[in-house]
Subunit: 269 residues, 2 copies
């Protein structure tokens, strides 16, 4: 196998399984070559990846030594993604009754979700999470993709307990968006106690559902170590949670004036 | 930029956006080099990718010329994935009341979902789909990932109409698993008429919910061009749909005998 081909294969294998550590020996065996060659290959591969702005390779010191792909996104790409997101969101054809905004097409579009999740993976890669959690439904692709990039399992909290979840714990919480009590329920099998949880969701208004998730993971003896939300409404200014990271803010939404306002969060990093 | 680095970057850019066509000119501009060099780079990159078994590069003929990353999975990897999946499923600790089987941990585990979706992407890459559709909740990460690999938007059909989906169409269908009428509802904004839809789901028993999805997309003047299901129960033998592709079969499930039977589908390709 030629060196060039080896570097290509190295990039593909590592970036297909982000944040997963491989020993150098693994690649020595796979490519049948010496550790010194693999070390050189890793340097070239990392330079190559940094050029694309989508990640880099991190070598792990220690007796065994190893390497992993760290997903990333450049400051410029974050800015242009925020701008693109705001522009798409502002389209008045998204206005629904009750001043709701249609966003499913965005959150189910892989071309945008892939990049959104690199933003949150960069933001939270050192938060020490053991799980990524979300509440069904619209945030699932985003949360799943962040979990993939951080090499963590995903937890999906359901609105209703289902028989296929086994025994569950349920809580009630007040949702400002729907102006009523809502329920969420989580399988007892979904999480180990004493874990740290990164919450990822598509949208937050007052913070009721994120508070619900925090309370829920608390029931399992776990704590929240980060909160990443794609869209956060400016109003109400006072949220039930602090310390969350929005990608963009939703301003005024008015069916009457036919406007949807959206702004990038310039304080993300 | 050295040739080796260029090939690494090429692989990363193309495999981050599977099935998306790029013109050769795009890379000429990006790397500031001639088309003949890019053509050579593509050949080396493709050899390198084929070595990993995760995909290859396909060049597109014609005036402009182009290239895309085609996700793939080798026959051997399909077999070992099926075996691993069966082994995980057979664990009797998965038994729930009513002979249901707990599978959420599998369908929310990126390390298995990534490979499962390469199986379905390989199977359905030429089915002409314009959308990938699933019904919430457990199949969403898998369906999303298949959509990503095929560069298609995802449609998530909801159990209950939500205000954030705008106007919806709803249908009722009979679910054999739950032995009762169930509802599903889909946003009118989710799909263009005359489209083809690939259905991806985590589990099928009698085929009620897949029939429901077919009926639903029919209401929008669309047709189903493929059905990929991760786990299909052997019983009932007579399903409401024909022409579906299971990855594995679920055999006898018995809390009394403490067994869960699972078999690979050997007819998948």
């Amino acid at each position: 196998m030629k060196r060039t081909e080896r570097i290509g294969a190295l990039i593909r294998i590592l970036s297909e399984t982000p944040s997963k550590a491989y020993s150098l020996q693994y690649f020595c065996d796979l490519f049948d070559c010496a550790k010194s060659s693999i070390s050189e290959d890793i340097q070239t591969a990392s330079a190559s990846l940094q050029y694309t702005g989508t990640g880099y390779l991190e070598t792990i010191a220690g007796a065994k030594g190893g390497v992993r792909f760290v997903p990333a996104i450049s400051d410029e790409e974050v800015l242009s993604l925020q701008q693109e997101f705001c522009d798409r969101l502002k389209n008045p054809s998204r206005l629904l009754g009750g001043n709701f905004v249609y966003t499913s097409d965005i959150f189910y579009d892989p071309s945008i979700v892939t990049r959104l999740s690199r933003v949150f993976a960069r933001k939270f890669r050192n938060c020490g999470a053991n799980y990524v959690a979300t509440v069904e439904t619209k945030g699932i692709p985003l949360a799943y993709n962040v979990a993939h990039l951080l090499n963590l399992p995903l937890i999906v909290i359901r609105r209703e307990a289902r028989i296929s979840e086994g025994s569950t714990v349920s809580i009630n919480y007040f949702s400002g968006s729907y102006d009523r009590l809502q329920k969420m329920s989580m399988s007892k099998r979904a999480i180990r106690s004493d874990s740290k949880v990164l919450i990822i969701d598509d949208f937050m208004r007052g913070g009721g559902s994120v508070t619900g998730i925090s309370e829920m993971v608390g029931e399992f003896g776990c704590t929240v170590c980060g909160i990443g939300i794609a869209i956060v409404a400016k109003e109400p200014e006072r949220k039930k949670v602090s310390d969350f990271s929005p990608l963009i803010y939703l301003g005024e939404v008015s069916s009457e004036k036919k406007i949807i306002e959206a702004f990038p969060n310039t304080d993300l990093f």
